[in-house]
């Protein structure tokens, strides 16, 4: 079999980078998408021996151009991980509409654009894996995250529906829900906030990006070929 080709959106930092590393370690051709941070992209490219591709995933034209270019160059695209995401937390009553829309664009619209473009090469090869990163907010809700929870809940329902459309082509569509994961974001947390978070997690600690990557890698593997439309929580028992 040819070497699998994977694309990870938001793949140059945090969880996305660790997912990309797990593919890269197995000898796959890995493309790391990023939106703006060129320094992080350059560092990740060197570190993972991967390609980097710049595109704003909330822009359909940029997404099509990015994915068509990969499919053209490699003749295939086997794995898509929709990982790119942002938060704009705030209580709904006071939430500016732009924070609602931007969160929808980057977290939900992007999944539509990327999956739509990636399905052409996958259907053509009759094999594919789409893995969407969701959130405990999608599963249990979270005050201050109505926008993010709605977007991620949308991604979960999208996952279940698309799974039914493309199962015939050996394409599976699944989701992974990381809990609180130790990344750059949690490193800057105040101690009090950190303790509060940890008190909610039955495992008593934050997860690691590697633990999330292993779940994503499982869904991407041949072994998971009969699992589709599902989600897997990697959250230490949080949900």
């Amino acid at each position: 079999m040819s070497i699998p080709v994977a694309l990870v959106t938001g793949g140059t930092k945090g969880i996305g980078k660790e997912i990309a590393r797990s593919f890269s370690k197995k000898g796959m051709r890995v493309y790391l998408n990023f939106s703006s941070d060129r320094d992080a992209a350059a560092a990740a490219r060197r570190e993972l021996h991967a390609e980097t591709v710049q595109a704003d995933v909330s822009d359909q034209e940029q997404v099509s151009a990015m994915i068509d270019a990969i499919a053209q160059k490699e003749g295939r695209l086997d794995i898509l991980v929709n990982n790119a995401g942002i938060i704009r937390d705030g209580l709904l009553m006071l939430m500016p509409a732009k924070n609602w829309h931007r969160v929808m664009e980057v977290n939900l619209n992007s999944v539509f654009f990327c999956s739509k473009a990636a399905l052409r090469p996958m259907v053509g090869n009759r094999w594919g894996r789409i893995i969407n990163i969701i959130s405990p907010s999608a599963l249990m809700g979270r005050a201050g995250q109505t926008n993010y929870a709605a977007a991620k809940g949308g991604v979960l329902s999208f996952t279940r529906s698309l799974a039914r459309e493309v199962a015939r082509y050996n394409i599976t569509v699944n989701a992974v829900s990381p809990g609180v994961i130790a990344t750059e974001l949690t490193r800057d947390m105040e101690d009090k906030v950190r303790r509060e978070f940890i008190s909610m997690i039955p495992a008593g600690r934050f997860g690691t990006p590697e633990e999330v990557a292993r779940a994503v890698f499982f869904f991407a593997s041949d072994e998971a070929g009969y699992i589709t439309g599902e989600y897997l929580s990697v959250d230490g028992g949080l949900t």
Binding site: L119, R120, V123, G124, R126
Partner: protein, 86 residues
């Protein structure tokens, strides 16, 4: 490209792409609907045909508005390709 030739090509391509066993090119009525008709094909089968047509003829079938027009029949598909071939 001459339309008659294209019609023949398309009928073979459809049979090959969708692995229609026991169906001959002559069995596909150029005027009949491709999907939801006598061939027993559904809209999910159309996805693979979209990919094959795009690859073979360099056309784009970006969405279902175009898809509906192009897949009305083999005849309509041939017209669509002749109009849009690069």
């Amino acid at each position: 490209m001459e339309k008659g030739t294209l019609l023949e090509e398309l009928r073979s391509l459809i049979i090959k792409t969708l692995k229609l066993e026991g169906i001959l090119a002559a069995d596909i009525d150029p005027a009949a609907p491709l999907f939801g008709g006598g061939l027993g094909l559904d809209s999910i089968d159309a996805l693979e045909l979209v990919v094959a047509l795009e690859k073979t003829y360099g056309i784009r079938i970006p969405d279902e508005d175009v898809g509906k027009e192009a897949f009305a029949s083999v005849d309509a598909l041939a017209d669509y390709i002749l109009r849009n071939i690069p």
